[in-house]
Protein backbone atom coordinates (compact mmCIF):
# COMPACT_ATOMS: atom_id res chain seq x y z
CA UNK A 1 0.00 0.00 0.00
CA UNK A 2 1.08 3.57 -0.70
CA UNK A 3 0.86 6.19 2.04
CA UNK A 4 1.21 9.87 1.17
CA UNK A 5 2.37 12.43 3.73
CA UNK A 6 2.10 16.16 2.96
CA UNK A 7 2.89 17.80 6.30
CA UNK A 8 6.30 18.75 7.69
CA UNK A 9 7.57 16.18 10.23
CA UNK A 10 9.13 19.02 12.20
CA UNK A 11 5.77 20.52 13.10
CA UNK A 12 3.13 17.82 12.57
CA UNK A 13 2.74 14.27 13.89
CA UNK A 14 1.52 13.05 10.48
CA UNK A 15 4.64 11.12 9.41
CA UNK A 16 4.96 9.57 12.86
CA UNK A 17 1.34 8.40 12.85
CA UNK A 18 1.56 7.12 9.29
CA UNK A 19 4.75 5.15 9.87
CA UNK A 20 3.32 3.57 13.02
CA UNK A 21 0.34 2.26 11.05
CA UNK A 22 1.94 1.41 7.69
CA UNK A 23 2.75 -2.29 7.38
CA UNK A 24 6.26 -3.64 6.65
CA UNK A 25 6.82 -3.65 2.91
CA UNK A 26 4.56 -0.67 2.26
CA UNK A 27 5.63 2.61 0.65
CA UNK A 28 5.53 6.16 2.00
CA UNK A 29 5.57 9.02 -0.49
CA UNK A 30 6.50 12.45 0.87
CA UNK A 31 4.84 15.33 -1.01
CA UNK A 32 4.34 19.07 -0.48
CA UNK A 33 5.63 20.09 2.99
CA UNK A 34 6.23 16.40 3.74
CA UNK A 35 9.48 16.57 1.76
CA UNK A 36 11.19 18.64 4.46
CA UNK A 37 11.91 15.27 6.09
CA UNK A 38 14.55 14.47 3.49
CA UNK A 39 16.89 17.45 3.99
CA UNK A 40 20.27 15.81 4.69
CA UNK A 41 21.63 16.84 8.08
CA UNK A 42 18.15 17.50 9.49
CA UNK A 43 17.05 15.86 12.74
CA UNK A 44 14.24 13.93 11.03
CA UNK A 45 16.63 11.88 8.91
CA UNK A 46 17.00 9.61 11.95
CA UNK A 47 13.25 8.89 11.82
CA UNK A 48 13.41 8.24 8.07
CA UNK A 49 16.25 5.76 8.55
CA UNK A 50 14.14 3.92 11.11
CA UNK A 51 11.17 3.88 8.71
CA UNK A 52 13.33 2.67 5.81
CA UNK A 53 14.32 -0.46 7.74
CA UNK A 54 11.14 -2.14 6.52
CA UNK A 55 9.41 0.37 4.21
CA UNK A 56 10.32 2.24 1.05
CA UNK A 57 10.35 6.04 1.20
CA UNK A 58 9.79 8.17 -1.89
CA UNK A 59 9.83 11.96 -2.20
CA UNK A 60 8.38 14.16 -4.94
CA UNK A 61 11.12 15.97 -6.87
CA UNK A 62 9.15 19.10 -7.87
CA UNK A 63 8.34 19.65 -4.18
CA UNK A 64 11.97 19.12 -3.17
CA UNK A 65 13.16 21.66 -5.75
CA UNK A 66 10.48 24.19 -4.81
CA UNK A 67 11.72 24.14 -1.24
CA UNK A 68 15.41 24.57 -2.02
CA UNK A 69 16.37 21.30 -0.35
CA UNK A 70 20.06 21.18 -1.19
CA UNK A 71 20.82 17.53 -0.42
CA UNK A 72 18.45 14.59 -0.11
CA UNK A 73 19.41 12.05 2.57
CA UNK A 74 20.45 8.57 1.47
CA UNK A 75 17.95 5.84 0.75
CA UNK A 76 15.04 8.06 -0.31
CA UNK A 77 13.85 7.50 -3.88
CA UNK A 78 13.13 10.75 -5.72
CA UNK A 79 10.29 10.65 -8.27
CA UNK A 80 8.11 13.00 -10.35
CA UNK A 81 4.32 13.21 -10.83
CA UNK A 82 4.70 10.36 -13.35
CA UNK A 83 6.27 8.16 -10.73
CA UNK A 84 3.54 9.14 -8.27
CA UNK A 85 0.94 7.90 -10.76
CA UNK A 86 2.85 4.65 -11.24
CA UNK A 87 2.95 4.05 -7.47
CA UNK A 88 -0.77 4.79 -7.24
CA UNK A 89 -1.40 2.20 -9.96
CA UNK A 90 0.81 -0.41 -8.33
CA UNK A 91 -1.18 -0.38 -5.07
CA UNK A 92 -4.04 1.34 -3.26
CA UNK A 93 -3.14 4.58 -1.54
CA UNK A 94 -4.08 6.46 1.60
CA UNK A 95 -3.49 10.17 2.19
CA UNK A 96 -2.39 11.19 5.69
CA UNK A 97 -3.63 14.76 5.29
Amino acid sequence: MLHTVNKSPYTHSTLAECSKVATPGSSILLIEDGVFAVQAGGAKVVDLNEIMKDKTVYALEPDIKARGISKVCEGVKVIGYDGFVDLAVESKSHAWV
Binding site: E17, V21, A22, T23, S26, K92, H94, W96
Partner: protein, 123 residues
Amino acid sequence: MNDDDVKKIMFIMRQAPHGTIYSYEGLETILVFGAFEQEMSMAFIGDGIFAAVKGQDTEGIGIKGFIKTYGVLEDYGVDHMYVDKESMEERGLTPEDFVVDVEVVSAAEIGRIMEEQHATIPY
Protein backbone atom coordinates in the same frame (compact mmCIF):
# COMPACT_ATOMS: atom_id res chain seq x y z
CA MET B 1 -26.60 -7.32 -5.16
CA ASN B 2 -24.04 -10.09 -5.40
CA ASP B 3 -21.62 -10.49 -2.47
CA ASP B 4 -18.72 -9.92 -4.78
CA ASP B 5 -20.01 -6.44 -5.44
CA VAL B 6 -19.75 -5.38 -1.80
CA LYS B 7 -16.63 -3.32 -1.26
CA LYS B 8 -14.77 -2.67 1.98
CA ILE B 9 -14.46 1.03 2.74
CA MET B 10 -12.67 2.42 5.76
CA PHE B 11 -12.83 5.95 7.12
CA ILE B 12 -9.63 7.01 8.87
CA MET B 13 -10.48 9.66 11.47
CA ARG B 14 -7.39 11.64 12.48
CA GLN B 15 -8.62 15.19 13.02
CA ALA B 16 -9.72 16.64 16.33
CA PRO B 17 -13.36 17.75 16.57
CA HIS B 18 -14.57 21.39 16.45
CA GLY B 19 -11.20 23.09 15.79
CA THR B 20 -11.76 22.05 12.17
CA ILE B 21 -14.81 20.66 10.36
CA TYR B 22 -13.19 17.49 8.97
CA SER B 23 -14.56 15.00 11.49
CA TYR B 24 -18.06 16.50 11.28
CA GLU B 25 -18.23 16.54 7.47
CA GLY B 26 -16.62 13.11 7.58
CA LEU B 27 -19.63 11.79 9.48
CA GLU B 28 -21.94 13.29 6.84
CA THR B 29 -20.04 11.29 4.22
CA ILE B 30 -20.39 8.05 6.15
CA LEU B 31 -24.16 8.52 6.48
CA VAL B 32 -24.45 8.94 2.71
CA PHE B 33 -22.19 5.95 1.98
CA GLY B 34 -24.62 3.96 4.17
CA ALA B 35 -27.20 4.00 1.37
CA PHE B 36 -24.76 2.16 -0.90
CA GLU B 37 -24.68 -0.94 1.33
CA GLN B 38 -20.97 -1.49 1.39
CA GLU B 39 -18.91 -3.01 4.22
CA MET B 40 -17.86 0.06 6.21
CA SER B 41 -15.51 0.56 9.14
CA MET B 42 -13.84 3.44 10.93
CA ALA B 43 -10.42 3.79 12.54
CA PHE B 44 -9.67 6.51 15.10
CA ILE B 45 -6.02 7.46 15.19
CA GLY B 46 -4.19 10.35 16.85
CA ASP B 47 -6.46 13.30 17.67
CA GLY B 48 -9.25 11.60 15.74
CA ILE B 49 -10.09 9.64 18.86
CA PHE B 50 -11.18 12.88 20.58
CA ALA B 51 -14.07 13.10 18.10
CA ALA B 52 -15.92 10.15 19.67
CA VAL B 53 -15.41 11.09 23.34
CA LYS B 54 -18.43 11.32 25.69
CA GLY B 55 -19.73 14.48 27.31
CA GLN B 56 -19.15 16.98 24.48
CA ASP B 57 -21.24 20.12 24.98
CA THR B 58 -20.76 22.61 22.15
CA GLU B 59 -23.31 25.19 23.31
CA GLY B 60 -20.65 27.56 24.65
CA ILE B 61 -18.76 27.74 21.34
CA GLY B 62 -21.99 28.15 19.34
CA ILE B 63 -21.27 25.22 17.02
CA LYS B 64 -23.77 22.47 16.28
CA GLY B 65 -22.62 19.28 18.00
CA PHE B 66 -22.53 15.93 16.21
CA ILE B 67 -21.73 13.44 18.96
CA LYS B 68 -25.18 11.82 18.75
CA THR B 69 -24.48 10.77 15.17
CA TYR B 70 -22.07 8.11 16.39
CA GLY B 71 -25.03 6.25 17.90
CA VAL B 72 -26.64 5.67 14.50
CA LEU B 73 -23.54 4.69 12.54
CA GLU B 74 -24.07 0.99 13.18
CA ASP B 75 -27.55 1.27 11.65
CA TYR B 76 -25.96 2.91 8.62
CA GLY B 77 -23.67 -0.06 8.11
CA VAL B 78 -20.50 0.76 10.01
CA ASP B 79 -19.51 -2.69 11.28
CA HIS B 80 -16.31 -1.85 13.12
CA MET B 81 -14.94 1.15 14.99
CA TYR B 82 -11.28 0.64 15.76
CA VAL B 83 -9.35 2.84 18.17
CA ASP B 84 -5.56 2.96 18.13
CA LYS B 85 -4.51 1.81 21.61
CA GLU B 86 -1.38 3.93 21.83
CA SER B 87 -3.17 7.15 20.75
CA MET B 88 -5.88 6.48 23.34
CA GLU B 89 -3.51 5.81 26.21
CA GLU B 90 -1.27 8.76 25.35
CA ARG B 91 -4.32 11.01 25.70
CA GLY B 92 -5.31 9.60 29.09
CA LEU B 93 -8.47 7.94 27.76
CA THR B 94 -10.01 4.50 28.28
CA PRO B 95 -12.56 2.48 26.24
CA GLU B 96 -15.28 3.71 28.64
CA ASP B 97 -14.68 7.32 27.52
CA PHE B 98 -16.25 6.79 24.09
CA VAL B 99 -19.92 7.28 23.20
CA VAL B 100 -20.00 3.96 21.37
CA ASP B 101 -18.42 0.54 21.81
CA VAL B 102 -15.03 0.59 20.17
CA GLU B 103 -12.46 -2.08 19.43
CA VAL B 104 -9.11 -1.07 20.88
CA VAL B 105 -6.35 -2.41 18.66
CA SER B 106 -2.69 -1.76 17.86
CA ALA B 107 -1.57 0.60 15.12
CA ALA B 108 -0.09 -2.40 13.29
CA GLU B 109 -3.51 -4.09 13.34
CA ILE B 110 -5.15 -0.98 11.85
CA GLY B 111 -2.47 -0.99 9.15
CA ARG B 112 -3.20 -4.61 8.38
CA ILE B 113 -6.94 -3.93 8.10
CA MET B 114 -6.29 -0.91 5.85
CA GLU B 115 -4.53 -3.23 3.41
CA GLU B 116 -7.76 -5.26 2.99
CA GLN B 117 -9.85 -2.27 1.93
CA HIS B 118 -11.14 -1.31 -1.48
CA ALA B 119 -10.67 2.32 -0.42
CA THR B 120 -9.69 4.36 2.64
CA ILE B 121 -10.89 7.94 3.14
CA PRO B 122 -9.21 10.38 5.53
CA TYR B 123 -11.07 12.85 7.78
